[in-house]
Amino acid sequence: MDFNLKIWRQKNAHEKGHFETYHISGIEEDASFLEMLDILNEQLIREGNDPVAVERGCQSSGPVSFDHDCREGICGACSLYIDGRAHGPDDHVTTCQLFMRHFKDGATITVEPFRSPAFPIIKDLVVDRSAFDKILQAGGFISVRTGAAQDGNAILIPHEEAEKSMDAAACVGCGACVATCKNGSAMLFVAARVSSLALLPQGRPEAARRAKNMVAKMEELGFGGCTNTRACEMECPKGISIDHIARLNREFLKAKFRD
């Protein structure tokens, strides 16, 4: 398969970015999107290195930087806004699980970073999502010391509750929700963690406090508010439901009443 790739290039956080277009051919339809980018990078390195190619007018911004790691949809490192959608045109996948068979041969594909004021660009398609770590540091945990735990079966947890908690805990922290939201809100991300812990008896004692602190941190870090457009839910690679935002709001209100 052949493609034209229109890719966002930006040297660092301070300089202005721009699109560059590259042609790539001979891609297997079973290749993943990121394998396709690997092949492009091989090509760009070779061309950037080839005086004839440079003479031909080859743009030599070097290989395209992009975050990736596990390549099986679980680490949450990969991002990319592909043809106007976070993680591209397939549903409920991360970019690393997107395959070229989902594109038409000869298509022009636009690739941008996840954009949000809270996710500054580091280089090309790589953004800084450390704000997510900071939100979780504000309360995304249960305060238990190593060694303090009682037997795992001492508190029973109904199957359904454990499953619901797991649904929320499936969040990979990729930031698609933020990149997709017109307000740049991190509500789905925050709600997934708050809800996952609030659904478990172990997480109840700190549930309201956790919600309050995490929401406050989210606002402080420049994420927008939630206006219930549900775009986040649509683009979440793990299909996390905005029902969890309702649960977050309940916990948040409880905390406010207490204050």
Binding site: E42, D69, D90, D133, V144, G173
Partner: protein
């Protein structure tokens, strides 16, 4: 220098060793802990749990990871589960049985005392994770659920759908975040350790490259903990994450830490087969699938040919024409034999010509019986997400046709040599999790990697490291202007300058792929003296080509992924060579290490206990010099050493 290999295993009865050692270990007063600094490199299950637990104790911890967040470490990709000797199923499980299964599964090449301790603390890990809010699968009554894994006859594996590693890591990462908020832990994401700094023979710090600015930075401490995982990516194609690498461990080796059993690499039987030349990563399908999936190839060659030409579908082949070869060869364990056995059996069938895809390198993993027996709903609950994942990648639904699988490199049992306290041969340097060698011998059982990472990080290291630190609190903080830091930083800078100066034509990946081919061909599932010697020569040759013709674009002081890869590949050459050397030395078959010269008439692995019942610990002797082999004899006082038998 052999006296360095002192394992510090306490004497006395097996079940009392850990208690005994704990009672001997010195403590550090809480007021003094805050004067002590500890560097933890890596934030997978081992690193995150260790850093969090050390922070809780009040030490000053600096934790480093190469990803943008500690949560991305590759432990997150573990699917199936974590073992613990809880005996919740009343199936006669016990600490001793978990210990026994692990020693046997490892083909009698791991230390009794370490493995027993692992089994002993396993139950507390589950309790800890439940308390952290890990949503383990529960039965309808609210009790924790279990499933089975390979190489055992009990159900002791705890799980959270097919995302157990993710959930356990999120638990450890949450504990870590709590300590970051408390101010005991400072997190350094996007930092890569490039050298270990030693002052007066003790580990005192690291040189790390800030991957965003590209600058080299110095960090000092009273002790350093390596928790950077394994070196499976030496093979280029593996189930490891793309950025997983052996470099931090390798720098420790080059600074004097012995490296143990490097040839013990695990080849996982259930991975998605290679689809083509453009591939860079192999995807694992969880071992838990072997609970209900049945592995087979056709009995008749004509069916194989028709499958390859896509003239028939696998589901059209009648039951009597299928060879369920694991059930045939190993009736007692069937599809749940250990990974090394299942992998070799798949290779045997494919080598005999029965591979079921175009490349001839695939076998079937079939769920049709399970769907009939359990119904759609229960299969969906157990494996739904794995079926979806398979479909996304292959565009074939496991509900209709069997999965195709083939073995791939997955885990490395070898690693930095450590004593019972998890201390390396360098005082003040510790290694935990997959980065050390200690618990899995020649083959790791499924669902035991998560167990080991968390056992080391939550329960072992925080206790043992105190013994070393107990007399260090009066020492001043490590001075990062010490000449040792200066020298280490200069050496790293020289490496980087050299890479940029080559200005060749070949990309890092294209050369890494070649290294991977050499490794898979000669240091893969079947190893021979001739092949291993060839591998050593070919790796040397390829390394020479690398230094003559690699192209590292960009510059140092910027975000530069090609430079990161080039630095890691430099180390992979050397790791690959040592793996081959170790495999050559070990002229026996055991666990995942299969020497063709050492097999039974039936083609099963043949151990040589008289000559190889030892840990091979290699000492670095300098650039282009042969490393020196030290042997730590393995003594089995509490179990009888037998030939592994999964047939009856």
């Amino acid at each position: 220098m052999a006296e360095k290999l002192i394992s510090k295993i306490p004497d006395g009865p097996l079940a009392e060793k850990w208690t005994k050692r704990k009672s001997e270990l010195r403590l550090v007063n809480p007021n003094n802990r805050r004067k002590l600094e500890i560097i933890v490199v890596g934030t997978g299950l081992g690193g995150a749990s260790a850093a969090a637990s050390l922070g809780e104790l009040g030490y000053n911890v600096k934790v480093f990871c190469i990803s943008d967040s500690p949560r991305r470490a590759h432990s997150i990709a573990a699917q199936g589960g974590i073992n613990a000797a809880k005996n919740y199923q009343n199936d006669n499980d016990a600490v001793y049985r978990l210990f026994y299964d692990t020693i046997k599964g490892g083909d009698y090449r791991s230390r009794e005392a370490n493995v027993y301790r692992l089994a002993e603390v396993s139950a507390a890990i589950i309790d800890q994770c439940v308390a952290q809010g890990v949503p383990f699968a529960r039965e309808y009554g609210g009790y924790l659920a279990n499933r089975s894994f390979g190489g055992v006859q009990v159900s002791r594996t705890f799980y959270a759908r097919g995302q157990t590693g993710q959930q356990l890591l999120l638990g450890a990462y949450a504990a870590l975040n709590r300590q970051v908020a408390a101010g005991t832990v400072t997190s350094y994401p996007r930092h890569e350790m490039l050298d270990l700094v030693i002052i007066n023979g003790q580990a005192k710090g690291i040189i790390a490259r800030n991957l965003v600015t590209g600058k080299l930075e110095r960090f000092g401490a009273h002790a350093v903990v390596i928790a950077t995982g394994g070196y499976g990516n030496t093979y280029f194609l593996s189930t490891n994450a793309m950025n997983s690498n052996g470099s931090a461990a390798w720098q420790c080796y080059k600074k004097g830490a012995y490296f143990a059993n490097p040839c013990f690499a695990q080849i996982h039987p259930t991975c998605i087969p290679v689809h083509g030349e453009q591939q860079c990563k192999l995807t694992l399908m969880s071992e838990s699938l072997r609970n209900d999936g049945r592995i087979w190839v056709p009995k008749k060659m004509e069916d194989v040919m028709k499958l390859r030409k896509k003239q028939i579908k696998p589901s059209q082949i009648p039951e009597e024409d299928r060879d369920y070869y694991l059930e045939r060869r190993y009736p007692a364990f069937g599809n749940l034999v250990p990974r090394d056995v299942a992998s070799r059996a798949a290779k045997e069938r494919c080598d005999a010509g029965f591979g079921v895809n175009e490349t001839g390198l695939a076998v079937f993993l079939d769920f049709s019986d399970a769907i009939k027996r359990l119904g759609h709903q229960r299969v969906q609950e157990r494996y739904g997400n794995l079926f979806d994942m398979y479909f996304k990648i292959n565009n074939v639904s496991p509900w209709e046709e069997p999965m195709m699988i083939y073995p791939a490199i997955h885990y490395t049992m070898g690693g930095i040599w450590v004593d019972y306290d998890l201390q390396t041969t360098i005082p003040g340097l510790y290694a935990i999790g997959e980065a050390n060698f200690s618990d899995h011998g020649g083959n790791r059982l499924g669902a035991s990697a998560l167990m080991q990472g968390l056992a080391d990080g939550y329960f072992v290291l925080p206790v043992t490291i105190a013994d070393y630190l107990s007399n260090k609190f009066a020492e001043p903080k490590t001075d990062i202007n010490d000449p040792a830091f200066e020298e280490a930083e200069k050496a790293v800078q020289a490496r980087i300058d050299r890479l940029f100066s080559i200005k060749g034509k070949r990309t890092v990946d294209s050369i890494h792929k070649k290294l991977g081919n050499i490794m898979w061909e000669y240091v893969g599932m079947a190893r021979s003296e001739e092949g291993l010697k060839k591998a050593i020569e070919e790796i040397k040759e390829l390394k020479k080509e690398f230094y003559e013709d690699v192209c590292v674009p960009g510059e140092q002081n910027q975000f530069n992924q090609e430079l990161e890869k080039a630095l890691r590949l430099e180390d992979f050459f050397e790791i690959g060579e040592l793996m081959a050397r170790d495999a050559l030395n070990r002229n026996e078959s055991c666990g995942g290490h299969f020497r063709v010269e050492s097999q039974t008439e039936e083609g099963e692995a043949k151990r040589d206990d008289a000559n190889y019942m030892y840990v091979a610990a290699w000492e670095y002797k300098g650039e282009d010099k042969e490393p020196e082999l030290h042997k730590e004899p393995l003594k089995y006082e509490f179990i009888e050493v037998k030939t592994r038998n999964y047939k009856e």
